[in-house]
Amino acid sequence: MALVEAIGVRKSFGHTEVLKGIDMEVERGEVVCLLGPSGAGKSTFLRCVNHLETIDAGRIWVDGVPVGFRASGGKLHELRERDAAHQRRDVGMVFQRFNLFPHRTALENIMEGPVQVLGRRKAEVGAEALALLERVGLAEKASAYPGQLSGGQQQRVAIARALAMKPKLMLFDEPTSALDPELVGEVLDVMTSLARDGMTMIVVTHEIGFARSVADRVVFLVDGAVVESGTPSDVLDDPQQPRTRQFLAKVL
């Protein structure tokens, strides 16, 4: 069974339907890049996978568990926010605007989840958090506050913060879109090494180069629907759909 299974996912904001029945499967260890013009619903879909948005129709399963619901007695019961929080422990998310906690140091940001959510002891979490900082190349920034870090550094801390929960799945919502061009590389490098280590990842991005070199599969969305999907070389080098060709002609 795939780690992520989405079937007929629909979502409207007011009268605007932003997801018009999305089907998607992501296997364990797979890296999937969502591409498409802005307003296509890529970010919204990603947020639905983590239950940051509720869905109006369809179903999303992560590791066999229906997102936002509890299956019992042949019915799906909508979860209270507290129980939904419990589900999110296994899914890491990285945001476009980093969203680090500004009142805590880099190290404290990373420790916050394991200590406050999992109730683990600070001493043992601290060593892990330092190792994570080292992994994203920021060991010397442990006691820096987010305001003292560059955008690229903040985003790498944010990745470490998500990893501290030992997630089964990582969601990246345009992780390099808010960065100065010269800082994009350092974040993509961390993501690439994460992919090499076998992390399952869904990445909303405009970095075609990253999708080409790292993704196992590329999914192209337009107007809330999947237009084309396949290996990077199929979709990026030999697109079958006119909308895909149009988009790639603009960004490449």
């Binding site: 983590n50 926010e81 998310m93 945001f95 906690f101 009142h103 916050e112 406050q116 959510v117 998500a162």
Partner: protein, 276 residues
Amino acid sequence: MASDTRMNDVREELVVVPLRHPWRWVSGTVIVLLLAALGWAMSEAQIQWEDVPGFFTHPVMFEGLLNTIVLALAAQGGAIVLGVVVALMRLSANPVARWFAVGYIWLFRGLPVLLQILIWFNLALVFQNISIPGLFSVPTNLVMTTFVAALLGLGLNESAYMAEIVRAGLSSVDEGQTEAAKSIGMTPMTTLRRVVLPQAMRVIIPPTGNNFINMIKGTSMASVIAFTELVHAANNISSRNLEIMETLFAAAAWYLVMVSIASIGQHYLERAYGPR
């Protein structure tokens, strides 16, 4: 080239004349003169200055001081707790809670504190007993002491202001912070306690400090229902010796001491929660 060198020579010879500020001298002198006049008037006034320190440390004054401090702290403390609750109701998804919060703020912010104190103090005129039928019943007069009436009047009014301050603070925290907290599996309560409130404090503390300073002075209104806070204590002393201004000045000094301490405390609190 030659002309350049000559220009430089000329430039070096120029003497700089700083801008003069004659009006600063004039206005400064006027202020000093006015202050001197005030000082002179005070020294000529018919005040027994030498009696003021005695009233400052008078046992009755100390009793009033203690009551003022207890009342101010209790009213402000209660107001902060109630304010957080009402602010959360105001931001709640439950429309009934939201409308209740709006009505609560409208009522308790809309009435003068003095009027509210008087209403609570006279509650026994309309409700002789406070009771939950079948559970308990007590005479209102017994419960509604001058302290309780003042506490309710000051505290409920302040809680309406605190609700708005807390709401502004909570709303000032970026939505992305809540989402980040959610994404690492935090429950709503933990998110509020660990992520939102600490950041909201930066917005909440300065107006709360101002309000607390107002609260210290506002306790003087409890003197109208004969609660022995500072002003009432001063009146008690002067009713015996008729040194009205001397006792009032002694009370005034205590207010300034308390407000100064509160201001210093606020300064350190702001620094503790300040930007990193």
